[in-house]
Amino acid sequence: MTNSFFYRLACRPAALLGMLVLLAMALGAILAPWLYPGDPMSMVGGVLLRPGEDPTFPFGTDQMGRDLAAEVFHGARITLLVGIVSAFAATGFGVLVGAIAGFYGDMVDGVLMRLTELFQTIPGFLLAIVFIVILGSSIGVIVFSIAAISWPAIARMVRAEFLSLKSRDFVQSSRVIGMSDARIILTQMLPNCMAPIVVTSSITVATAILTEAGLSFLGLGDPNLVSWGSVIGVGRESLRTSAYLTLIPGLAILLTVLAINLLGEGLNDAMNTRLRVA
């Protein structure tokens, strides 16, 4: 079954492209310490060398003489890590809240949905800034604050799915078999909304990467770590004279987010049981 799932995914050129780009990014992130050993924030060469000017620095150097290629590769580690971990946390919490609210309805639903709306009414990016300002800018806090602004969308979607699934006959027949509520939620209803959950959480990874980039750009990122957003933030100061400092990490973000979206689309089709060949 797993084989056929990947097979169906790989049959879609867009999804395949997305997957390859993401694999390349992940590979780059994993290999960064071997490709560019040492601290990517240390000054290694001349100031503002353009890409290609010195073969040692294919992406050039910034105002402080830091190797841009080292920063981009090491930045991929932090950016991807923050994106994936915070999307996972947001999905886990969102699914939990949404499933319970949708399944039990009435009072439980009311309380949980008011809580969700409380988060949704505050602009997400501002809320993330508030968390970081209060708790300090460490990588843990950044992951937490991005997860905290991402879960309400997933919770609302899962709740809506559960509300419509709850009245389906097969849920009643699961009860007839003698299943407990928890078992019905986990083994019967969740598999029925896996497709939208996977798709939404893949998009959440993309949004989380953009949010992290935005926060780092504003200087709210972890000052001890390089991420694509912080590289752009540094490059911004010489945008008119040395645009490559923002263009290269910007392109990395663009490619990653695009790849994730393509993969998400492909997952959506691949997870549809009805499209499976008999």
């Binding site: 006959d169 097969f170 009643q172 078999i177 003698g178 299943m179 407990s180 019967q188 896996m194 049981t273």
Partner: protein, 322 residues
């Protein structure tokens, strides 16, 4: 013979904004092992609500279910807690529904669903459960069961899906099988196969069957005894041959007259009027406004169901003396 279902004084009332509305009123049922009791009535007569009440499948938020006694097998479930009911459902009593296409989970393979049913009651686990599931599919005569295990409901026909539902219902060899219009969504040739299958499994396992239907031809061929319901009350009960040949209650007679058969050609007889809604129940016998044999007493008082040796009717003016 052992009794697999004994219901006394079952009352189910729905909680609405207008207060409690009784949907099932004072119903007694009794099924012995190996026996089929048909529950007959037109739409809205409370047949399905009775079945759902027996397994407590209506949430207490929506309805109040009361009974003097409610026994499945040798367990008294009148005041059973939710965990107790969960242990009964599937294990002691299985149920199949009208539309197999929607009663099966669309994203799980049928094998997975049968395995779930076995694991819930710890009958079998892992590999053993899958083997057991395949044996069950073979038992409900699904051809090529080993391969069908990995199919999804949308890949099977309605008749095959209903067989899978039956396999799910009998997975733990229950004492009682409730079949709520099991053939309504199937075409006629499949109907006969499914009913024959239920009959055969019933003989193998020795379970009692509560067959809910509005098709009197199905009753004649498949049931041992029949209970006729009207407006949430049981109005007549007896052996199938007796009830269908010499109905006592005018409603049963009306139902029989409205059944098409090959001898009569021409207009089908009908019972004038509709089943009264839950909120506008008349004070006396609920059938009185539609009844051709109604007396003055009928609109003032509700007749109690009475009779002897299992032949019961609730009528002041029965067609033949009880």
């Amino acid at each position: 013979m052992s009794v697999v279902l004994q219901v006394e004084g079952l009352c189910t009332s729905f909680k609405t904004r207008r207060g409690l509305l009784p949907a099932v009123h004072n119903v007694d049922l009794r099924i012995e092992a190996g026996e089929t009791l048909a529950l007959v009535g037109e739409s809205g007569s409370g047949k399905s609500v009775t079945a759902l009440s027996i397994l407590r499948l209506i949430s207490p938020d929506h309805a109040q279910i009361k009974a003097r006694s409610l026994r499945i097998g040798d367990e008294e479930l009148c005041s059973a807690t939710p965990p107790m009911m969960r242990a009964v459902r599937g294990k002691k009593a299985g149920m199949i529904f009208q539309d197999p296409a929607t009663s099966l989970n669309p994203v799980l393979s049928i094998g997975r669903q049968i395995v779930e049913a076995l694991e819930v009651h710890a009958v079998a686990r892992g590999k053993a459960a899958w083997d057991h599931a395949q044996a069950l599919l073979e038992r409900v005569r699904v051809p090529d069961a080993g391969r069908r295990l990995h199919d999804f409901p949308h890949q099977l026909s309605g008749g095959m899906n209903q067989r899978v539902m039956i396999a799910l219902a009998i997975a733990c060899s229950p004492r009682l099988l409730i079949a709520d219009e099991p053939t309504t969504a199937l075409d006629v040739t499949i109907q006969a196969q499914i009913l024959r299958l239920i009959r055969e499994l019933q003989d193998e396992i020795g379970m009692g069957v509560l067959l809910i239907t509005h098709d009197l031809a199905v009753v004649a061929r498949n049931a041992d005894r029949v209970a006729v319901m009207y407006a949430g009350r049981k109005v007549e009960e007896g052996h199938v041959a007796d009830v269908l040949r010499t109905p006592l209650h005018p409603y049963t007679a009306g139902l029989l007259a409205a059944t098409p058969d090959e001898r009569s050609n021409g207009r089908l007889a009908e019972i004038p009027g509709l089943v009264p809604g839950l909120a506008e129940m008349p004070p006396g016998c609920p059938f009185a406004p539609r009844c051709t044999r109604a007396l003055d007493v009928c609109s003032g008082a509700m007749p109690t169901i009475s009779g002897s040796s299992g032949r019961l009717a609730a009528c002041f003016n029965p067609i033949a003396p009880c």
